[in-house]
Amino acid sequence: MPGLIKPTDMKRFLGFVKKEFIHIFRDLRTLIILFGIPAAQIIIFGYAVRTDIKNASIAVYDLSGDEVTRDLTDRLSSSEFFILREMIDSYDKVDEIFKSSKVKAVIIFDEEFGRRLISEGSASVEIIADGSEPNVANMVTNYTRAIIAEYNQDLNKSPGEGLILIEPEVRMYYNPNLESQFMFVPGIITIVLMLICALMTSITITREKEFGTMEVLLVSPLKPIHIILGKVTPYFFLSLVDLIIILLLSWLVFGLPVKGSLLLLMLITMLYILLALSLGILISTISKTMQQAMFISLAGLMLPIIIFSGFIFPIEYMPPIYNWISTVIPARWFVTIIKNIMVKGTGITYIWKETLILSGMTILFIVVSAKRFRIRLQ
């Protein structure tokens, strides 16, 4: 390609790129946002958004009030999962306490719990969870069940041996401490890069259109392709700087190093940045005003990426149709690649398929946006 470009063209092109860089660096606020957003997001969401539960408030309705139920209540409240918020004394209070959202679950011990357990060999406990938060309700119920079952086992240990015949041993691969970071950092890289590249380019190009300065550029000796490339080039490099900042932060702050090849990660990220930039160009060819560009970026890119990249909601468990939809969302493939390289440390043999899909999408978006841009010129 370089042989085909005349030296004068090259000089003009570089001059244009320089102008674009000046535009970006001149506005300190844009610059702070360009680098402040990813950094702040990584730190805030890495720490604040947690899918595990700790210190969930529970209430206990103890109809029995004997040694066994007190023991069990102690066990529950001393675990890291629960805080005993209240002891309630009537069944009617359950609704009241849920409606004011004070607790996530109420545990009800049946009458004469301890006596029945010892003499009749069986006693009942009921867990009522606030189903308005399904995930929390599910986890709280599971943890409570596990704690009670463990207590039950301990109770039975003394009288006779041979009650625990099967001892499961669990190993959590890739993430032995079950940290949420392993999910969020790759997800945030995916989102932030798409946001910066697609949103920024679509808005800068649309801005030129909305203010009529695009016409000034078009009558200049620069070829349309050079105008677009010139617009996009600064963001390509700035995105790479962003990637490095994010990787450094995730390493220094969360102790999440890149397990696999850094070079491979960089190369594939460049591909993804290219894709995001061409999406940005495509959006700018569709929209006439900045508001439009922003709405398309927001409704058409941001939410689908958050949802379908599977970084908060695992795609495997969505209805099958959505699994299909997600295959056309580039972020889905990119997040898989990043997770593989960063967390699992796998090489290209494991991710060649995803990389190929991403390359195909990039080429498609470049071709489509180039075509659309030329149409507008005629």
């Binding site: 958004v49 969930a56 408030s57 004011s100 867990i127 308005s132 099967i166 691969y173 695992p314």
Partner: protein, 372 residues
């Protein structure tokens, strides 16, 4: 008063003249409801399980068939090679490996504590925890039945067992849509408020038309109210439209009082619009405003507890949520819609949000300068 009415009319005319915006007002909620609501789920089923059964006895086969029968698991692979199983996990072909070693059945017979190994792909920590909870539940039942069989032979007598039953109130089937739809409505209302109102003012600035308004004798508060009211109305209409769609498409229950929800929504929109107008006084171009608002919107929404419980956030995040209006609305809309919470239940939230609304609107009026 008449001045304000004229200004409000002018705003409405301008908003609906823009065909894109008037389409977006109804298009976005429609798309969000149809596409997003069913997709967002934490329910996990059909966990892909790879079984390594090196024992090949009736006991181990019994265990495997129990897993097969469970609604949570789908036995996607069976193999004898640990390496192959690891590889499958590596390639994301399975989520969980159950390794039953040779001598499993023998150990059970001799009461030597048979071991099984479970390996989970834990990149997604919460899914891994849930899968582990499900599989250990199956193992526990299996164990209990084995014990029962053994005991009846030895006739030791019954052992104390705690019977645990559980129920989920307000959403007995733990339907995730009931949880996510209110959350998506909050995103919708927030985005409308923050983006449209602020952009409107900044655009007037950028185009220079704001100076024409500034030379008229209208007062600062009149200007702010006139900019606030149209977007308040649009926000409420969108909320109503979203609720209606939720009812028609997903049959979302509405346990509480519609009036109370709209009262709270008005308060919320005033807080958000006040913030939008305040931020617009700080930005001179639409581009600047957009970047600032994107940043704030993302933080507000994700911190509000839309996907994850706000209570399990660290203390600093919970403190932040005291000034995050989205956190109030996120909590209250779910309380009212799903649990039917009443005025008294949400009184602390009303108080908190009212303080925020008062602050943001005052800030907006104070920062708005009629001079350039």
């Amino acid at each position: 008063m008449r001045t304000i009415l004229y200004l409000v009319r002018k705003e409405f005319t301008q908003i609906f003249r823009n065909r894109f915006i008037s389409r977006a007002i109804f298009g976005i909620p429609l798309v969000q409801m149809i596409i997003l609501v069913p997709a967002v789920t934490f329910e996990i089923d059909n966990i892909k399980l790879c079984v390594i059964d090196k024992d090949m006895t009736s006991e181990s086969r019994d265990l495997v068939s129990r897993l097969q029968g469970s609604e949570f698991f789908l036995i996607s692979h069976t193999t004898f090679s640990e390496q192959e199983a690891d590889d499958l996990l590596h390639k994301n072909r399975c989520d969980l490996i159950l390794n039953i070693p040779r001598g499993f059945s023998n150990d059970i017979m001799t009461e030597n504590r048979a071991k099984v190994m479970v390996i989970a792909n834990a990149i997604n920590a919460s899914s891994a925890q849930l899968s582990w909870a499900y599989i250990s539940g199956v193992l526990r039942d299996f164990n209990a039945d084995l014990v029962m069989d053994n005991l009846s032979v030895k006739s030791i007598g019954t052992l104390p067992t705690i019977k645990i039953t559980n129920r989920f109130w307000y959403n007995p089937t733990l339907n995730y849509k009931y949880y996510m739809l209110p959350g998506i409505l909050v995103i919708l209302v927030t985005a409308i408020g923050l983006l449209l109102a602020g952009l409107n003012v900044v655009k007037e600035k950028e185009m220079g038309t704001i100076e024409q308004l500034n030379v008229t004798p209208i007062r600062k508060y009149q200007f702010i109210i006139a900019k606030l009211v149209p977007f308040l109305v649009i926000g409420l209409v969108d909320l109503a439209f979203g609720l209606l769609l939720g009812k028609i498409l997903f049959d979302i229950p509405f346990a509480g009082s519609l009036g109370l929800l709209f009262f709270f929504a008005v308060l919320y929109l005033i807080a958000v619009l006040g913030l939008a107008l305040f931020l617009s006084t700080l930005s001179s171009t639409q581009q600047q405003y957009l970047f600032v608002v994107f940043f704030i919107l993302l933080i507000f929404i994700l911190m509000s507890g839309i996907f994850t419980p706000a209570e399990s956030m660290p203390l600093w995040a919970q403190k932040f949520n005291l000034v995050n209006p989205a956190a109030y609305f996120m909590r209250v809309i779910r309380m009212i819609m799903l649990k039917g919470s009443g005025f008294i239940d949400i009184l602390p939230d009303i108080r908190g949000l009212a303080i925020i609304a008062l602050t943001t609107v005052s800030l907006a009026i104070w920062r708005y300068r009629k001079r350039v």
